[in-house]
C-alpha cells in the first residue's frame, strides 16, 4: 500500500503573524512599546475577523485598558471574534458583543456580568461555547481554543517586552504560553515601563507589544472579608466544621472557598482549634489566596505553607515578610500562578470546603440562579474527587474507608476519597432556602439553552454538608435513598427538610451519618463572635504587626 502525504504549506500561522506585525509596524516606537493613544489602531492592525481573542480577565487582575480599546475598534474591520477568557467582570467584556465586534464566547466565570450574558444569549447577540472550570479552559487553550491574539496585563515591562507580573501573576503565564507558542500575538498593558525589572515573569521574546496604560490595571480585593460581618450562625458552623471534620479526619492540606463561612473558620483556628488541641494536626498546608483572615492562624504558628492563585490588595508587605509561608521570588514579592495553584488544588490537597447557594436532595450543589450565566471558576477543580490522584494521606484514606460503596465499586484495592464539604445555611438572608427539590440550574439551562445544567459540585463528589442543624457524612450512605434521607435530615425547615422522616433521621444519627451540634459536643450558647481571633479589620492589622495594609473601603477607623 502506498501512502500519499498532503501538499500544503506548514507555516501559515507564522506567515500570517508576520503579515499582521507588518501592519502594526507604524505604531511601534522604541523596542516593543506602543503609545496608549495608538492602541486602538494597533488592535485593528493585528486582529482579524473570526480570531480567537483572549482578554486577560481573572477574578482579580484585569487588562481593563486593552478591554476598553477593543470596544473602540471599527466593527467593519474587526468582527465575529471568538472570545476565550477565564473571567468576564467588566462591562467592556460584554460591550464587544453588543457592538458586534465579538460573537462567540468560551469562559469560566462572569460575576457581575452574568445577567447580561443570559440576556445576550436570549437576544442572539452571543453564542456560548461552554462554561468551563479554570483548569479546563487553560487546558483547551492548548487544544482547540488557542488564542490568536492575547491581551494581557502586567505590573511592569521593559523595552524588550520582558514582563513583571509579580504579586498578581494569576493567568498571564498560561495565556501567553498557549498564544505565543502557536504563533499568536501577545499584547501587554503595563502599569509602568522601567529600565530594569525586579524579576522577569514572562520573557520578552514571548511578548509582541507593550502599552503603558493611562491608569494602573483594575484589581478587586475579592477575598477580603471583614470579621465584623461574621455572624453567630457562621461561628456555629465553623465550630462544627473544625470539630466534626477538620479534627475528625485530621485534614492537613486544603482549600477554603471564598466567603464568610470559611473566614469564620480561619478566625476560629487560634481560639476554638487551639482549645481542641488541633494545632499541628490540621490546616498546615493551604492552597488559598492571601486571605487577610488567615493572618491570626499564621501568626500563631498553625500554617506551614500557602500557595496563592492570585494576590490580594493590601497583603503585599505581609506576604513578602513571611517568605517561609508564601511563595516569594528572589526580588521579595510573591508569584501567584493560577494554573499551578489550580493543579495543586485539584490533585494535592485533601479537602475543599466552601459555601453554596443551593443543594438538592441528591447532593448536587450549585450557585447558579435562573437568569445569570455565572459559572464557577475554579471551585469544581477542587470540589471533586480527583480520579488521577495516586498518593495517599491520612484524611484521604479515612474518607475512602468510610465510603460505603468502596468494596462494591473498588473491589479489594485500597483507595481514598477527597473530602468535598459544603457549608450551607438552611435559610439565608431574605429567607432564601439553601435546600431545594430542583436546583435553579435546571431553569437556567432552559432559559439560556445550555446543553447541561451548570452544577458546581456533583452529588457523587460531595462528601459532607454542614448546616446549623448538623453535619451529613454522605460517603457512609449505602445508597441514594439513605443519602437523600441524610440530606433531608439536616435541611431544617426547607421544602427538602420538611420531607425528612424523624425516625429515619434518628436512625442516621445513631449510625453517625448525621451529627447534630449536640452529638458533636458543641455548646450552642458558646457560638458567638467572641470566639473569633479578630473581630474587625483593625484587629487583623494589629495581628499582622502593621504589615497588612487594608484598602480604604475596609478602613473605618
Amino acid at each position: 500500500m502506498e501512502y500519499k502525504g498532503i501538499t500544503r504549506e506548514w507555516d501559515t500561522l507564522k506567515k500570517d503573524a508576520m503579515e499582521r506585525a507588518k501592519n502594526a509596524a507604524p505604531y511601534v516606537k522604541e523596542g516593543k512599546i506602543v503609545d496608549a493613544k495608538d492602541t486602538v489602531a494597533l488592535l485593528e492592525a493585528v486582529i482579524k475577523p473570526f480570531d480567537k481573542v483572549n482578554i486577560e480577565g481573572n477574578n482579580q487582575k484585569q487588562a481593563d485598558f486593552l478591554a476598553k480599546c477593543l470596544c473602540q475598534v471599527d466593527p467593519a474591520k474587526v468582527h465575529d471574534l471568538h472570545m476565550v477568557q477565564s473571567v468576564l467582570t467588566l462591562p467592556e467584556h460584554l460591550d464587544v458583543f453588543e457592538k458586534g465586534i465579538a460573537k462567540k464566547l468560551d469562559m469560566s466565570f462572569s460575576g457581575p456580568q452574568a445577567g447580561r450574558i443570559a440576556q445576550f444569549l436570549q437576544e442572539g447577540k452571543l453564542e456560548l461555547g461552554a462554561i468551563h472550570t479554570y483548569l479546563e479552559l487553560y487546558g483547551r487553550y492548548f487544544v482547540d481554543l488557542t488564542p490568536r491574539v492575547a491581551l494581557v496585563a502586567a505590573t511592569m515591562a521593559d523595552k524588550k517586552g520582558n514582563l513583571f507580573t509579580g504579586f498578581s501573576t494569576e493567568d498571564t503565564p498560561a495565556i501567553v504560553e498557549a498564544t505565543k507558542f502557536r504563533q499568536g500575538i501577545v499584547i501587554a498593558q503595563v502599569n509602568e515601563i522601567v529600565d530594569e525589572l525586579p524579576r522577569v515573569d514572562i520573557p520578552g521574546d514571548w511578548v509582541d507589544y507593550v502599552v503603558q496604560s493611562p491608569k494602573p490595571f483594575y484589581i478587586e480585593p475579592l477575598f477580603t472579608r471583614d470579621p465584623a460581618l461574621i455572624t453567630d450562625a457562621q461561628v456555629l458552623k465553623g465550630m462544627m466544621a473544625i470539630k466534626g471534620i477538620y479534627g475528625e479526619y485530621e485534614v492537613t492540606s486544603l482549600n477554603h472557598g471564598i466567603g464568610f463561612d470559611t473566614a469564620a473558620i480561619e478566625l476560629l483556628l487560634p481560639t476554638y482549634g487551639e482549645e481542641l488541641g488541633l494545632k499541628g494536626k490540621i490546616c498546615r498546608n493551604f492552597i488559598l489566596n492571601p486571605h487577610p483572615t488567615l493572618i491570626p492562624a499564621i501568626e500563631t504558628g498553625w500554617v506551614e505553607s500557602v500557595h496563592c492563585f492570585g494576590g490580594e490588595l493590601g497583603m503585599e508587605d505581609y506576604v513578602a515578610a513571611r517568605s517561609d509561608i508564601f511563595f516569594v521570588g528572589p526580588d521579595g514579592s510573591m508569584r501567584s500562578n493560577r494554573a499551578f495553584s489550580q493543579t495543586a488544588g485539584h490533585y494535592a490537597i485533601d479537602m475543599f470546603i466552601g459555601g453554596t447557594l443551593q443543594i438538592d436532595p441528591y447532593g448536587n450543589s450549585s450557585t447558579a440562579t435562573a437568569n445569570r450565566v455565572a459559572g464557577f471558576g475554579g471551585a469544581p477543580n477542587m470540589g471533586c474527587d480527583p480520579k488521577g490522584r495516586r498518593h495517599s494521606s491520612g484524611a484521604w484514606l479515612k474518607c475512602g474507608e468510610e465510603y460505603a460503596l468502596n468494596s462494591e465499586l473498588w473491589g479489594p484495592v485500597r483507595r481514598g476519597k477527597r473530602l468535598v464539604v459544603q457549608l450551607a445555611e438552611t435559610f439565608r438572608e431574605k429567607l432564601a432556602p439553601g435546600f431545594v427539590e430542583e436546583l435553579d440550574a435546571f431553569a437556567l439551562a432552559k432559559n439560556a439553552n445550555l446543553s447541561i445544567e451548570p452544577v458546581m459540585i456533583y452529588g457523587d463528589d460531595l462528601t459532607h454538608i454542614i448546616t446549623e442543624e448538623g453535619i451529613a457524612y454522605l460517603p457512609k450512605c449505602r445508597n441514594m435513598e439513605e443519602r437523600t434521607a441524610a440530606i433531608r435530615g439536616i435541611a431544617g425547615f426547607t421544602e427538602v427538610g420538611m420531607k425528612a422522616d424523624p425516625k429515619e433521621t434518628k436512625r442516621l444519627r445513631e449510625l453517625g451519618i448525621i451529627k447534630t451540634p449536640a452529638d458533636l459536643g458543641i455548646d450552642m450558647s458558646r457560638a458567638n463572635r467572641s470566639m473569633l481571633a479578630a473581630k474587625n479589620v483593625h484587629d487583623l492589622v494589629v495581628w499582622s504587626k502593621g504589615l497588612y495594609n487594608p484598602p480604604a473601603k475596609f478602613r473605618n477607623w
Partner: protein, 108 residues
C-alpha cells in the same frame, strides 16, 4: 411594610422553667431579633407571640419554636419575639441564648 403578628401555643413536658420573672435578649436589627421571656403559669404550656415583617413563613416559625420547646423542655413561659428578617438558625440560637441567660440569672 406591614408587620404580621403570629400567635402559637405549645404543649410542653415542662421539665424546666426560667428563674427570672422576666428577661430580655437581643436587638431587633437587620437579620436579628429580640426575645422576651415572661414566667407565667400556663399549666406547663408555652405561649409565643411573633411580630415579623416576613410573610409566608408561619409554619417555619411554628416548627422552629416547637423544636426549641421540645429540645429544652422549657414550660410555663410566655415568649415574645420582635423580628427583623432573622433566619431560622438565628431565631433558634437567640432562643437558646435567652434561655441560658434567664437560667444563669438564678445563680446571682
Amino acid at each position: 411594610m406591614a408587620l404580621q403578628v403570629l400567635e402559637f401555643e405549645f404543649k410542653s413536658e415542662a421539665t424546666q422553667t426560667i428563674a427570672k420573672e422576666w428577661s430580655h435578649l437581643g436587638v431587633t436589627g437587620s437579620g436579628d431579633l429580640e426575645v422576651l421571656f415572661e414566667k407565667k403559669d400556663l399549666g406547663g404550656n408555652v405561649k409565643a407571640k411573633v411580630v415579623t415583617p416576613v410573610k409566608g413563613f408561619d409554619a417555619v416559625w411554628e416548627k422552629m419554636i416547637e423544636k426549641f420547646v421540645n429540645d429544652t423542655g422549657v414550660g410555663n413561659i410566655s415568649i415574645e419575639i420582635n423580628d427583623d428578617n432573622a433566619t431560622p438558625i438565628v431565631v433558634y440560637m437567640r432562643l437558646r441564648q435567652a434561655l441560658a441567660e434567664a437560667t444563669a440569672k438564678e445563680a446571682e
